[in-house]
């Protein structure tokens, strides 16, 4: 069923690589990176696919049963800018360049010691011939890591100073998922990529895992009155579940519903709120006007100022 789509995708990436990327690398004297560029070009192409898929899924839902209706959608466009920067591979590419350098150094030290880092499959040999189960386990572990990153974003003052940009949006849509400070994005990439390297996520699977998590996160931010039902709400994060996290009474350390993909972490750590009939207003009542209605640049500057204040132990909020 997916073969024609896969073929189309392959033809496009093959054409893009051979006519644009590889000649550019050759001209720049960087052919030693050709193999890596071919692998990571997927991020750019996947980024386009993500935006298209997310829009195709979420926009009709938002039009169908919106929680809120607004006449003025200018602040939503700021979130669109965030999405374009984050999803078209710019930030992940930066993170990869940094990470691959760090990883090469660490791997070199490890190699010198004669010890070879394990992967999930070497710890559980049965997974060697069950790639789908291994793939699911990698997602589960990474999602667990994301749960704790998210909790720390709400707990550590300097981190909340950055993350509050994300919570300041009073007109939350599926675009809001990418509304983050660049420092916060970099930390997230290091956290996520570092954990992926630690547990040995196959490089080829990494973009796919990122896409699954990102599509789920976009949907969870959508302005849609949608709940997955009594059991579904406990299996996957829904727009209803995550809206409670963004509710005006849920900012900062008062947070709840931190899970990104699987609500089981909120169940285990008793931070879940499963009231299915509650669709609160979103936003942070203590956020400044710059964070609520400012453009991308103004929000970044304001976020940096608050971050530095928090780091120097001054009041961030």
């Amino acid at each position: 069923m997916f073969d024609p789509l896969i073929r189309l995708y392959d033809q496009f990436t093959s054409w893009l690589f051979q006519t644009v990327v590889q000649p550019a690398l050759y001209a720049a004297g960087m052919m030693e990176w050709a193999d890596d560029a071919f692998s990571w070009m997927d991020f750019f192409v996947f980024g386009i696919v993500q935006v298209v898929v997310v829009y195709a899924v979420c926009r009709p839902l938002e039009a169908w049963r919106p929680v809120e209706r607004w006449d003025d959608r200018r602040v939503v466009w700021t979130d669109v800018v965030y999405t374009m920067l984050a999803r078209l591979g710019l930030l992940p590419l930066m993170a990869f360049v940094i990470l691959s350098g760090v990883q090469a150094q660490i791997a070199g030290w490890i190699a010198d010691s004669g010890w070879v880092a394990p992967t999930l499959e070497t710890l559980i040999p049965a997974l060697e011939t069950r790639p789908l189960i291994a793939f699911a386990l990698y997602i589960l572990i990474l999602d667990f890591g994301e749960y704790w990153r998210h909790r720390l974003q709400h707990t550590i003052p300097w981190w909340w100073a950055l993350h509050s940009i994300h919570h300041a949006q009073e007109k939350m849509t599926f675009w809001t998922d990418d509304r983050n400070h660049v420092i916060d994005d970099m930390i997230a990439a290091l956290w996520f990529g570092g954990l992926a390297l630690l547990i040995g996520v196959p490089p080829g699977q990494f973009p796919l895992i990122v896409i699954i998590l990102r599509v789920a996160e976009s949907l969870s931010h959508a302005n849609v009155r949608l709940s997955f039902g009594r059991f579904g709400e406990r299996l996957l994060v829904s727009p209803r579940f995550h809206r409670l996290h963004h509710g005006v009474l849920s900012a900062g350390e008062e947070g709840r519903n931190y899970a990104v993909l699987f609500p089981i972490w909120d169940m285990i750590f008793r931070t879940g709120d499963f009231r299915r009939d509650v669709f609160p207003r979103t936003g942070d009542p203590e956020a400044s006007a710059a964070l609520v209605t400012g453009g991308w640049w103004r929000q970044q500057v304001e976020g940096t100022r608050r971050f530095l204040h928090a780091l120097t132990r001054r009041e961030a909020r």
Binding site: Q22, D35, P131, P203
Partner: protein
């Protein structure tokens, strides 16, 4: 059930092309990742061998009974039965990107492209045992390997250092480095010279290893990559990944005798007994077959980013241990 019963005599007679009896092609897909065993006639997949992370290259053991496949991302070498494709053993080895046995069959040199290391292992065929003798760091991104025929020296291309390194296998130390051009990739020993594919440029560099001197260059096409001598002394074929072509060089004069346009970024080659060339087409996820007599290219789909390739002729299984070792097709 009836169909199965009818098939039994045929199976017993060996008329079905089982992997051990017929020609097969081993294709290493670096981004899927896995090893595909392909029937070269029907192009059907006979077997899929899952690999942990990112396999690239393979080599045949001196006895020609095993194929060693390096999984650089998974830090593992797989030992495959060259007749059946069965996995006989998996061994934890640090970053095995490329690997090659010495002509005397005693050593295996493994390059770790991402870890900037060249490992020298001793090889014990009886136990399929590899023992790390030493680890050297000759430079940035060690890639391909060529031996001097007396097995005393090995030469390694260093893609990030624009050079090749000569390593003394007895003293296990680096003898010298020589600048040869931007991003050198493939390397072979040929009539006392080293031929090096200069991937960041469009030529093959001819190096005199005794004088430690770059003698001349031969223009083949942008992204010159790897070199493959025809078994038995025919032309030397060179792949160019940017211009996407295979160039035939005269084995004596090293002049270009013919150029074949092969879309998809040809990378590694292997030869069948009819002299046809089987190629991995990296960017098109295809297995290509070039008939050098006619220039005709046929393709069939394989996994993503196919890299290493080995055409296992059926005669290899029968003649194993009877013939002197031939150059390993990589």
């Amino acid at each position: 059930m009836r169909r199965f019963a009818l098939a039994l005599p045929l199976l017993a007679a060996g008329l079905f092309p089982g992997p051990g009896r017929a020609d097969v092609v081993f294709v290493i897909n670096s981004m899927d990742p896995g090893i595909q065993v392909v029937d070269p006639v029907s192009r059907a997949e006979l077997r899929q061998i899952p690999v942990l992370r990112e396999p690239h290259h393979l080599t045949l053991t001196p006895a020609k009974d095993l194929l060693l496949v390096g999984d650089s991302g998974g830090n593992e070498i797989l030992f495959l039965d060259a007749s059946t494709g069965e996995v006989r053993k998996r061994e934890r080895i640090s970053n095995p990107y490329n690997l090659e046995f010495s002509p005397d069959g005693k050593l295996l040199v493994v390059t770790g492209l991402r870890r900037d290391q060249v490992d020298i292992y001793s090889w014990d065929a009886a136990s399929m045992g590899l023992t790390l003798l030493t680890r050297l760091r000759p430079g940035d991104m060690p890639s391909h390997i060529a031996y001097r025929p007396d097995s005393k020296l090995v030469y390694v291309t260093l893609q990030g250092s624009r050079s090749i390194a000569a390593i003394d296998l007895e003293k296990r130390e680096i003898l010298w480095n020589l600048q040869v051009g931007r991003e050198p990739a493939g390397i072979i020993w040929h009539n006392g010279k080293l031929l090096v594919g200069i991937m960041g440029s469009d030529h093959v560099a001819v190096v005199d290893p005794e004088a430690r001197k770059l003698e001349r260059t031969i223009r083949v096409g942008r992204g010159a990559h790897a070199l493959f001598p025809t078994p038995g002394g025919g032309p030397i074929y060179v792949t160019s990944r940017v211009d996407s072509r295979i160039t035939a060089l005269d084995p004596v004069s090293l002049d270009v005798v013919r150029t074949y346009e092969v879309p998809g970024g040809p990378d590694c080659l292997s030869f069948d007994e009819q002299g046809r060339i089987w190629a991995t087409l990296r960017w098109n996820r295809q297995l290509g077959m070039l008939d050098p007599a006619t220039g005709e290219v046929t393709t069939s789909p394989v996994g993503r980013s196919p890299h290493g390739i080995f055409f296992r002729n059926r005669s290899l299984v029968q003649a194993r241990n009877e013939t002197p070792s031939a150059p390993v097709e990589r």
